[in-house]
Symmetry: C2
Subunit: 302 residues, 2 copies
């Protein structure tokens, strides 16, 4: 989720650098640093959102292959400036940060949805046929198969032929009420805690945060039980939420994500399944879907 | 991890209350509200730490059954005020907040450890014999068995006869350097993101946060790669870290945690394995160890 510019020292050292034993296999940072250019994928501005907060920018990659109707509606809302002046109105520890129109259910105060659709189908899962699925080697408790589709953490059921996006850290989903088809993509949430995989196939996932999640994850928590701020003044203002393709080039941040369908990525996963950097005394021999790092970097100068 | 005072409405509703269908089984809040007194366990002040930050108090329950030497050292350090005036000097998104003596490796500046031991054994795991283990019904990717010991998320291997604490959200561990036995319990970290289960059996876990984790999880993140603040002024000061038994009664917070060895808890786990509250369209039929809520409440007035 974060840009990874430098060598990762041992994970939980007492506050200093330490001396490393020679590792027999490459560690993650070495793999990333040595990855060929084709192991990386540049974000497509047509499927990238810039969420502008006073503290910084949150970059979201959208997943139209899983939620085409929601992504289309989000693009419309973004183009029409729906979110400008809205807010992050809910932050629940170990769960989500949620944003949009805090007055959205009050007809007297709700923002106009403009050209956006007022009804969308639920997009909880889709046919797996036609999707390139990069499986993880390990069993997943929540699904018959876990892996990646277009760089997104995903799951698949061969018995039903369906695939869906997983609620890993940084996943962006469309808040809804009781009805399956009650989300519009106008109220969005981001996972900022332990992966709530029980939400998989119960809610439409529209994308994931690729940069700047700390501007959400470090926000003050709202009160129990669900983290909705009690006072409007506590909400974090959203200055704008725009599709990157509509933002002047000079304001772009050029990011690349590591592809999940290359030998580089397979080696990275294995380096995390079995850590042999000297700090780890017992390699786990396992990794959960939501523990797999998905590296992001600034696009190198040509 | 949080106090649960009120009915949990649906998880990701667009900012309002919604109408519920009648659920055929009890939801978590109903189970908690209806739990008999004996389903709860009061924290023992001899194994409870109060971490005092300007923003609030973080309450930590220690696990001496798993890390007796580290807990003993922590008690010594706490009694001697070791942490008074130290700081939270590292916050890494989706990983840990770490605190203690930021200058601990500089002999000229390091705080005196007083009566505390300068060398402790590694306490990564222990014999399972003698431990009451409350197993979860589901498979765990990281261990042959997952469940709870004395209310702590734990794992067990029948083949080796060993048990250990799991790195779930809120777990408190003892930072070390390369050597297994290089931790003293003076530098501690708290998990504030996706459970880093690869650390299980690689580092000594000393307890878990039972209240106030938001005073750590919402701290500003330090810079990449590991979140150590660059400037001393960025660190969050620790006013005190004390064993609750040394704190005047008037300053205590009386907390209870839900026991993990009762029919109440078994029903709670099942209610989370298969959510039937109307919002969830597809019950998962599974739960991961680190997704199991461990409720905490203020001790009711007698």
């Amino acid at each position: 989720m974060r840009l990874l510019p430098a060598l990762l020292a041992c994970a939980l050292c007492a506050a200093t650098a330490t001396v490393f034993a020679q590792a027999p296999t490459r560690g993650m940072q070495e793999i990333i640093d040595g990855a060929p250019a084709e192991a990386w994928r540049s974000l497509d501005p047509e499927r990238t959102l810039y969420l502008e907060l006073d503290a910084g920018r949150v970059v979201i990659e959208l997943a139209p292959e899983f939620a085409p109707a929601h992504v289309d509606n989000i693009r419309t809302l973004a183009r029409e400036g729906f979110w400008d002046g809205t807010s992050v109105y809910r932050v629940q520890d170990n769960f989500v940060a949620q944003f949009g129109d805090a007055e959205g259910d009050d007809p007297a105060l709700a923002r106009d949805l403009g050209s956006a659709a007022r009804k969308l189908p639920a997009e909880f899962e889709r046919a797996a046929a036609g999707l390139a699925f990069d499986p993880l080697p390990d069993a997943d408790g929540w699904a018959p198969q876990a892996g990646f589709v277009a760089g997104f953490p995903a799951a698949r059921d061969p018995a039903t032929g369906m695939a869906w996006l997983a609620h890993c850290y940084g996943a962006v989903g469309a808040a809804r009420s009781m009805a399956d088809d009650s989300s519009l993509g106008a109220e969005l949430y981001v996972v900022i805690g332990q992966s709530p995989r029980q939400l998989d196939r119960n809610i439409t996932v529209v994308g994931r945060v690729v940069d700047g999640i700390e501007w959400l994850s470090a926000l003050p928590r709202g009160p129990a039980p669900m983290g909705f701020y009690a006072e409007a003044a506590q909400r974090t203002p959203i200055r704008a939420l725009r599709l990157a393709s509509t933002v002047p080039q000079a304001q772009h941040v050029a990011l690349q994500v590591l592809r999940t369908d290359t030998p580089t990525f397979a080696e990275l996963v294995e380096s995390r399944r079995n850590r042999r950097d000297g700090f780890y005394k017992r390699p786990a021999g396992h990794i959960d879907l939501c523990n797999v790092p998905l590296p992001v970097r600034r696009t190198p100068a040509p």
